[in-house]
Amino acid sequence: MNQTMPILPVEAYVDTEWFEREQRLIFSKTWRFAGLAEDISEPGQYLSVQAGLNNLFIVMGRDHRLRAFHNICRHRGTQLLRAEGKGRKAITCPYHDWTYDLEGRLISVPQQEKEFPDLDTSCLGLLPASVDLWRGMLFVHPDPDADSIMQWFGDVEPYLGPHRPEELVEYADGAGQEEIRANWKIVVENYIDAYHLAHLHSGTLAMYDHSRIESGFVGPHFAFYEPLAPHYAKNLEANAPYPLIDHVPADKLGAFVPMLFPGLGLSETESAWSIFHVVPLAPDRTRVVLRTKVMNVSEWQFAKQEWRSAGFWSTQIRGKYEGHGDDDPMASGDFMQEDIYACEQQQKSLRSPYFSVGATARHGEAAVRDFQRLVAQWVEGAP
């Protein structure tokens, strides 16, 4: 196998045509992350989410069951619902007030007798989609007859962390977004690249032991685990930045950092559980949505843990380089800023006719090659 041949052509990372094909053939055909279970907890609550080319919305009925529909009025296609809301018993289109019930049935058409005398409303219900809950996360799929979510995630589930996200609480300061000036695949490849951990993040991720990584693809999903570094593990109770998650057994302490196809990263560690949701915006722009959950204990416990561990972290974390200014990501001591910087620096070169891939690490970048092969398979007719 020739390791210097790129598996995906440069066009895959810069062309609009490739981007559209991925939206159609990958993002419209897979289970898409839509939020955390708590985001819709009351009947009548709803939220909308983009899944590839499809805008879908999820609404909860009085039976506490979620329904998902394509967010399209059957009249002339107007998008029905905005981002999120509550208290809905029916869904009314803003344009001409066509109204649907929570099962998607068309229940009201203004001036129906005069304007639509032959209308068969039973054929004009909202188009259903699929929705399900898995590990405390909401997922949608544009196909109402999609394969069960357990068929999609069942095989990789045993390789994920033992964490029970439903029992954790969201940490408000852990929520955020980043907009990265790079193709979504550059971002995913960075997430699954093991070779860079000891280098780009030499000052920011040294609390995990990169020499004992266990990783690999299970179907389309990438599973990854590395244990705690010995110097961190030695005094974990004192040095963890947040209270330890009580249901992680000792032999599973460390970082589980899977990347679920096509773009949902998880980070499941000894003291935090986070999602890293990759949202492609344009060939050279990607949004990453971040949310974090932690142990459900008091503010006081968190404050105490912060004080206890402060000394350890002040010696542990350092920027990779001396700073060029306050905003220098390479001096920030923040591993996410370091990753964003590396991704953007890579994307910049793609337009140069002198760009090429010289070689890829046999082991540490195997996942990157596997991921590119996977994308090539999903986008038909790709090299």
């Binding site: 009925g61 506490h64 069951r65 099962e103 809950l133």
Partner: protein, 357 residues
């Protein structure tokens, strides 16, 4: 799979009689290898037991309470009915070693587990209505590992609960995938059983769904109990926006009173295609289709003769009938022309029916 009529009963030996409660016993059958195929059953189905008594051939359908997915042998659980001749006979005269005549399994009230399915199953049982639901929940726990079962189980008191020990044992081994909520209408003062007081009514249904909201979003609802409970639960679920396609029900115990004498059968010429063989029968006025066919000694399938079990199901191709209480049929089935011959009276001079045994 036979439906208890045009297929002959087979002699099956009872290997064991297990007392479940003071009023209920289970009868375990030995099915010889050559009959395993004929007697393969789906969770929720019935078998018909045929008993000769006082010169009459009596037949009754009983649900198979065992799960084919848990490797269990064929077993029925029978509650003694107050004036029940067959249930009385089974309780008083059948023991290990006895031979009973049994017809192969039938019935459409089924739950078939799928290994990759991710579902939430809500089961509503009252009294002996637990029998099909117990077979269903054993099957889900054995063969559908990603799904969860929530059982709401109504009884008079703790002592009348059938399968109490078995359910407690399953709660130990499958506690992540099973919940059991008891509802007792007349609990004894000394009862230590944790239970809701009262009956399974609309309030109980609402409280149950609120307490156990679905995790897996593909939720299915199975109801089995006497007439009024069935109706109440179905209505309560539909009031909570549960779509009717997700609700599956079977009647057990007392049917709603059948005082529908509004329509009298007209005399009619019946043509029945039974497994491809045509029978022409003149049906006298005032008789149900089943009665007319039985009188003409046509060997059509039937069992309970009360509209509850569905064994006598047929498809009406021509003509019209009035059905008194076709409780074993779903509304969509009736719309598609399915009828229960035991409940149908002819309202046109000619009828054409297709029946498959």
């Amino acid at each position: 799979m036979g439906r208890g009529g045009a297929v002959k009963p087979f002699a099956l030996r009872v290997t064991e009689v297990v007392p479940e409660t003071a009023e209920a016993k289970s009868f375990v059958f030995d099915v010889p290898p050559e009959l395993r195929q004929a007697f393969a059953w789906r969770p929720g189905q019935h078998v018909t037991v045929v008993v000769e008594m006082d010169g009459e051939s009596l037949r009754r359908p009983y649900t198979v309470s065992a799960s084919p997915h848990a490797g269990e042998p064929l077993r029925i659980t029978v509650k003694r009915q107050r004036r029940g001749r067959v249930s009385g006979y089974l309780h008083d005269h059948v023991q290990g070693g006895s031979v009973l005549r049994v017809m192969p399994p039938f019935g459409g009230f089924c739950l078939d587990p799928e290994p990759t399915s991710h579902r939430t199953l809500y089961l509503f049982a009252a009294g002996s209505g637990i029998t099909p639901l117990y077979a269903m929940l054993r099957s889900v726990l054995a063969a559908e590992p990603y799904s969860t079962v929530h059982l709401l189980y109504g009884n008079r008191n703790a002592k009348s609960m059938i399968f109490r020990q078995q359910l407690d044992a399953l709660l130990q081994t499958h506690d992540e995938h099973l919940s059991v909520t008891h509802v007792l209408s007349s609990p004894s003062w000394w009862s230590a059983t944790e239970a809701w007081r009262g009956r399974i009514d609309a309030d109980a249904v609402r409280r149950f769904i609120d307490t156990f909201p679905p995790y897996a979003q593909d939720a299915q609802y199975f109801i089995c109990g006497p007439g009024s409970m069935n109706v109440d639960v179905r209505r309560a679920l539909m009031d909570l926006d549960v779509p009717p396609e997700r609700i599956h029900a079977e009647f057990f115990g007392a049917a709603p009173p059948d005082d529908d004498t509004s329509v009298v059968a007209v005399a009619s010429q019946l043509t029945v295609q039974l497994d491809g063989v045509r029978h022409d029968v003149a049906a006298p006025e005032g008789k149900t289709v089943l009665q007319a066919l039985q009188q003409a000694e046509v060997d059509i399938p039937y069992a309970c003769q009360s509209g509850l079990c569905g064994a006598c199901k047929g498809r009406l191709r021509r003509g019209t009938v009035h059905q008194r209480a076709p409780l074993a049929l779903e509304k969509t089935e009736i719309e598609q022309g399915w009828v229960l011959t035991c409940q149908s009276v002819a309202t046109s001079p000619q009828l054409w029916l297709d029946i498959e045994a």
